[in-house]
Symmetry: D2
Subunit: 467 residues, 4 copies
């Protein structure tokens, strides 16, 4: 078993341990390999903390200055890629304090006064999340703008709208594109709301019981850009709600991206041929030279599983934990960072794909089928002939069946055959059977007509921040 050595006695908590930790235990336990990513938050929060200690009279003002200068130097080492993790550095907090003490000497030992790694990591994480929410929201906005761009270019393009993936009614391509705008708008609002909700400072909660020094937590929070302070120290050190909120917002965003992806994958299959994939965002095959695959869209769909998995994993980890900090909470960071990286990698590529994919209006129009106008016939029976809708629907169902039996489409069905179903039908029925007219009729708010979609786009633009 490991002998206690100098390296480990530098550990923050080694004081009373007679024996060193097992090396495999250390490898399991240490978090520096992933939490070093919090260096900026850790160091700047420590600067604010040094200032707060000085304001509270716990340390001298010149001591705070010394600490802050030292921390600035440590930060510069991280930013410059020069920071070297040492043997005893368990986590980012240990590493920063160890390096600080090398730079400024014993005074470094004053920085942790009244603080615990429990409130420290909670603070770092919230600072990191604040940026993360904002960054993802901004990338979502970029994609929203791209959708608006494509929608504006396709305001009059008519394509089949599907339910159950079966052709249902004609819609405009702009309407289809904008449907994703609104999904993303909810994501964007959700990210903003969650980012705001969690913007409270846990610092000053100490390990669990609060701080025994006369620290002004509110001023410290304001110094770090928080909107306020957490209200109960025991809760604050083990609250990971914001992480769960981030993963949930990411999961739902992923669901929306996966639905866009599914459509793009389908529509770029030659049976549809509605979309031509750009070279820059598709790939080929090592075996089949003719292939052009929508890989980024497949990854958008596939990675949604990964993100949902992270959400599930975190909730499962949190479930049933006893009060206060438990080491299980260390498991919050990797799924969080991985989700962030997944989205920051994915969103620009999806935006690039949407921006550069070519819609093929001819193929879209060619996929329209007269039967998709059946609803128009029913509405015409209602409006022009006063037939109750349910009866109209039934009559049109019969018409569709008759047409199928005769192997002709609705507009090629003879008036005689129309009459065989109902005497309500007259020759004006053929005028109803027009795709553009069907689309144009849907002018009510949220409808697919070009005029309604133009209004939709105008509303949409107003909801986005200035570019």
């Amino acid at each position: 078993m490991a002998q206690k050595d100098a390296a480990s006695s530098s550990k923050l908590w080694g004081g009373r341990f007679a024996e060193d930790p097992d090396p495999q235990m250390r490898a399991l336990n240490d978090s520096i390999r992933f939490d070093r990513r919090l260096y900026y938050q850790d160091i700047t929060a420590s600067m604010a903390y040094a200032r707060a200690l000085a304001r509270a009279g716990v340390i001298q003002s010149d001591e705070a200055d010394q600490l802050e200068r030292g921390l600035t130097a440590v930060l510069a080492e991280f930013e410059g890629g020069l920071f070297a993790v040492a043997e005893g550095d368990e986590d980012i907090h240990t590493a920063v304090e160890r390096r600080l003490s090398e730079l400024v000497g014993d005074i470094a030992g004053k920085l942790h006064t009244g603080r615990s790694r429990n409130d420290q990591v909670a603070t770092d994480l919230r600072l990191w999340l604040r940026e993360a929410f904002a960054t993802i929201a901004a990338l979502v906005v970029d994609l929203q703008r791209t959708l608006i761009g494509q929608a504006e270019a396709n305001l009059e393009t008519i394509m089949p709208g599907y339910t159950h993936l079966q052709p249902a009614q004609p819609i405009t391509a702009a309407h289809w594109l904008m449907s994703f705008f609104w999904m993303l708008q909810r994501d964007h609002e959700r990210l903003a709301a969650f980012g705001h909700r969690g913007n409270l400072s846990p610092l000053g909660s100490s390990a669990l019981a609060g701080i025994p020094y006369p620290l002004d937590r509110a001023a410290l929070a304001a110094d770090m850009g928080f909107d306020g302070v957490t209200r109960n120290s025991l809760d604050a050190v083990s609250d990971r709600d914001s992480v769960a909120e981030f993963l949930f917002a990411a999961s739902l965003l992923g669901v929306h991206l996966s639905r866009l992806a599914e459509d793009v994958i389908l529509y770029s299959n030659p049976a549809f041929g509605f979309i031509e994939l750009p070279d820059a965002y598709s790939t080929g095959s090592s075996l089949m030279p003719q292939k052009r695959n929508a890989d980024p869209m497949e990854l958008a769909r596939g990675k949604t599983g990964r993100v949902i998995g992270h959400l599930t994993g975190l909730l499962t980890t949190l479930k049933g934990l006893p009060s206060g900090y438990n080491k299980d909470l260390q498991e919050d960071k990797e799924p969080l960072f991985d989700t962030y990286d997944t989205l920051t990698t994915l969103l620009p590529v999806v935006a690039g794909m949407v921006r550069t994919m070519q819609l093929v209006p001819d193929r879209m129009r060619a996929a329209l089928q007269p039967a998709m106008l059946a609803t128009e016939l029913a509405d015409w029976l209602v409006m022009a002939k006063g037939v109750p809708f349910r009866q109209a629907h039934h009559l049109v169902g019969e018409v569709v069946r008759v047409a199928e039996e005769h192997g002709v489409s609705l507009e090629a069905l003879s008036l005689d055959l129309y009459h065989s179903v109902s005497s309500h039908f007259d020759s004006s029925v053929y005028g109803v059977l027009d795709f553009d007219a069907a689309v144009a009729r849907r002018t009510a708010s949220g409808g697919t007509s070009p005029v309604a979609v133009a209004a939709q786009i105008e509303q949409a633009r107003k909801l986005l921040p200035e570019a």
Copy 2:
């Protein structure tokens, strides 16, 4: 294979089908057994829709009155337990319209004009969710009040605070109880925010493309108590974000309840003995007559898994769906209803348990260990002796080790042995080793001292609605 018969031709969509659905397919497909729960929402939304059709001139005003009277009668049948589901009733929408047509005749066929089951179910669901969010939030508030009640009764009760489930520092029982208040406060705010976010009317989206009749969707939305309308019909018919939000809010609420449960289960084990379980909220054993088990708390913990499972399931179902309505979306209701039922059953019982459980201050105090004052010693070295915290922490670590080696507690350790660690120690060290003083020292906002907790409770009260 099934012959087409009269029953099925009453189906809303049977018009052109030559053959009846397979009975097993029907059993799989029909949703009436669970979506009948939406009857109130379905019928009242239909009433509002009839009024809107009349305002738009699509039906006559007296027709709307007839429809509304008929719907009132159908509603009364449901409320009175008299509604009989018929053979052809696939879902609540079909069932209501079928019954309506039996009561008012052919005019019932006008109600569905311009409407689809797609926007109809989306509307019903949002109406239901609006109540569900409010109901759960109110039950959370009840539990919050109960926690405040117990906290106020235990403002001065001192107990061990744990991290890693190891004794860390003394805290007040009120502080421990209030830590759950704040978790629930976030749940309560989240439920309110989500309920508000989704309160938009999809009605008028029709199947996917919007409505071709001149319906005033905004007036219709207001009539149903919505804050506004959805903006894109294609999105609106397949948007289940609010369901996901409900399940997520429930999952995080479950996580918080499971943590409270874990503590209560632990603390009522006789090794702790901090809590005596009330007869009314505990159970015995069929084999071991002496047992008293915290079953409701175990169920609170266990059911959190169930709710997290529902969230995962819904997100998985939504992932990768193509545009527009897909039948997969029918899978949204059962996890939603089950989650609602789980919480409405669970929350009052948890509140009852919290209200009636007896804290045992003597056992709590007996569990305090002098070593839990180690941090006090360190803070005293910092404040009284000017020792940098990190060095103070190390010295106290040595003291703890020396005390362990001599098999005595900190307050029984001789001054000589204190001196063997550091000359900073003097006889005033014994005065520091007091649990009440340690607690009282933590007066900063969010801390565990009675005065800080009293302030916490005051803030808490202000956040709750009037009782």
Copy 3:
């Protein structure tokens, strides 16, 4: 608070409780509403237990007979739908024993000797699971047979094979259908293996510590059809591995069904038109009379989310439980039963759909594109001309590009243009460009040629039990 009354003092564990359980607590706690489903297992296991008690000399042989006759009567009441749940019946075990004591008097009180509800429910559940594994496996086999049937009818039908949902190479429809056979074969083997693995009797584990009576657990296990006994009583009462295995096997089966579903949904879209949906397994629209939707396939896909959710939920519930039975384990049954019901409802409908759907060979062939023969060209360069594959692949890539630039397909590209890419090409190239030949070439085991697929089907048949 509830007064203690007669009803509750009949509760199995009420002996020492001064106060009755809160009614809401009871509603939360009682499991009779779902665990009554275990009545057959509970009663037959009790019969076996009575016999074992008699063999051990704990009760008299005629007492065992009396108990068995009484239990037979209780079983008959359940089977006949006559069993009435009484006020104090918490769960199926309580209900059966209560009714038994009404029928046979005090001797009923001997049945629970040495037994606990902990080992009792574990036993019931394993008996139930044994049947459940077998039932689902048999339904999977039915679907496998159906796939073989369709495959045999389509051994020569050629369709596009896809990767990334892009046309890749021609395959036979039989090959496509059989790909699902093998997925299901893994499910079927998994269900059988899991059913076998868990077939051990926990009875005789008592509450946690084992039974103090000289019971022959092995004989008791054999009497109930178990393959052996569990080895550690503490483990046995809280082991729910078999439930997790069932949910996992169901999840993976769901994944496979969802993939079949996705293909059927896509291929029945008219852009593909590869499949015509049968009336008996598709539905229409309340608004759009021409629709024919593959609802059962959408539900197969959607319900996979539900089942995955149940698996996640159970694992989350089990995670972190302390040793021995905890009430959280009561949460095992509902997801299990729901998963079973989901599959027993779904599988026959999927089989019905596969059996009755019409493949449309003409549409399949029409969707083949000459570019799908690009790999054939490359393979021809390798085999006929000795070109290294990688170079061949590159040359064919150039050919595809040239053909695209000239807007012609591969078989219409002039020899001059072929030569412009490489002099290896000669007029025999046109003979390679044949879909049937491409398919026929893949005769190696597992390949798509009719001869290889016929061999595949023969292997497949051998793996299924006799019909």
Copy 4:
């Protein structure tokens, strides 16, 4: 947008693309950063493939030798840490072939004949999984041995057994320890069974349709140590069942470890004091010098959430994919590798903890309560007095209540008071109230008596492979 350059034209599929991939798309798409981990499997499978191509006469025998020598050199570069990933290396397959062609020239281009990255990666993954299943199983066995070791040392140690975390009956510590042995035995058997089930070779499936060259797939499979070949090429290239099985086996293993962890965490809390944590496997606090935390156990519990998340994520990713390979499948590797790393890091530390933790028999015995013998009283009434169990249970319940009312324990309750409950009680009742006797009585198979546990251990030893 990116100009096409030399680097990218080296890509395996670049032939016909006019434009280079977007750099962000490449970053999203490339898998080399994680799939390079498969280098050993990729290279050795390529060696076997070269031999198979030669046997089939597709390449010359000396060409195969050249390829094999080149591949040996590439492998040596990987093993020696000398392999340099180049700009165009998308994945491990591309990287290896690129390097091979640098080393052996154009002949490298023959290696991919008839092969696709689809069957290649499926093969690599199965080879990797075979080792992974075996490695984890071996680590589980190590932990099982450690449990046996501790159990043997504590065969006579008596401790409270819990249900609902309430003291229930006395058990031996060996019994408690062995309960985890059996959980792990199921994991160990499951890992072995899954490893065996998936050990089939997909190589020769090509992209989806099978291989058009006369390759002997069975011989190739045997050369790689597979037990057989996959039966349908379309299935084989997208079958990820083995990955799901690995993640499921890991999840259930995690559940078991988390339960052990929960117990160790509880029992090392001083209120229990049953376990003393070893320095080598516990940690201290940066703020509270007296702390000794069971961090590895908390991580075992917490990381179970992570692994369950990976399982959920993978199943979600697989759900609803269309036939054949889809890029979504690239998402299989990271959760798999992370799960493997989690377990290989965790298991040895858990084993170290179990090996070095000190059980504290005195504290265990001190926690026994006379009420835990209530069941003994009931069994005594049954056996010595012929009272039906249910009545005995009820009488003992009364005794417990009377004892509680008089504030005395069962063995201190006067005979008069016993008589007040029932005349069955006589002075021999006091002899029953003995913890050791209660334990010793449970000799039936699987029971907690030292003799039954010794038999249990003997069975256990036989199930493990030779050390």
